[in-house]
Subunit: 116 residues, 2 copies
C-alpha cells in the first residue's frame, strides 16, 4: 500500500473537466481534476458534492450566490442544490463522489471515469 | 454558504490528536487535526480511514509495513486494518470519517468531537 501523490496524478493528464479516480473511500471515488472555463449547471439529487482546491481558484455558482475557493479551501454542495463550477484560469481540485456518480448529474452527458 | 479555509480552522487550536469538525459530507465528518508523536494502534471495523496531509509529514504504521505521507499526499486505511499514525514533527491533516466514528476505534478512549 502506497501514498497517493495528488500532484503526480495530476501530471498524467491535461484535459479539463475529466476527473481521474485516484482512490476509493467508503464507496466513494477520490478524484483529481483540472478545470478551466465554465462547466454546466447541474445537481446531484442523491449525494453531496465535495470540492477541495489544490491549486488555482474556482467559483461555484449557486442560484442564490457564488462561493469563491482558493488553495486549501473546500466546499460541499449539498445534495439537490444546483451549481455551476467556473474557473477563469486552470485550477486543480480533489473531488469526492459516490462511485458511479455522473459529474454532470446526468449519465448521458457525464465524463467517463478514468482511473490513474 | 461559504468556503471552508483549512488553514484558518487549524489556526484556532493547538492540541495534538484532537480533530476539529469543519464540515459534513454524505454522513461523514470533514475534520482537520494537528498531530505530533505516536498515536495508538487501532482499527475501524466499519469504515475506511481517510488521511490527507496538508503540511508536515506522517507515517502510518501498518502491521505489514509503513506508509509515509507528505503534503498533497493521501492514504486510505481500509476498514478493519490496524494502523498507528506517527509524526516526528507537527503535521496537519484533513481527515474524513463517518460522523461519530471514535478516532481511536473505541468510544471509551476517543477524543471528543469539537466543531470549529
Amino acid at each position: 500500500m502506497n501514498a497517493i501523490n495528488l500532484a503526480d496524478k495530476l501530471a498524467t493528464f491535461a484535459e479539463h473537466w475529466q476527473p481521474r479516480v485516484v482512490g476509493q473511500f467508503n464507496g466513494h471515488d477520490l478524484m483529481v481534476v483540472k478545470v478551466k472555463g465554465e462547466f454546466v449547471w447541474h445537481r446531484h439529487d442523491d449525494t453531496d458534492d465535495f470540492f477541495l482546491v489544490l491549486s488555482g481558484r474556482i467559483t461555484i455558482r449557486l442560484r442564490d450566490g457564488d462561493v469563491s475557493l482558493g488553495p486549501g479551501e473546500l466546499f460541499v454542495v449539498p445534495k439537490g442544490v444546483e451549481h455551476c463550477p467556473v474557473a477563469d484560469e486552470e485550477a486543480q481540485l480533489l473531488l469526492i463522489e459516490p462511485t458511479g456518480t455522473p459529474n454532470t448529474g446526468n449519465a448521458a452527458t457525464a465524463a467517463p471515469r478514468h482511473i490513474v
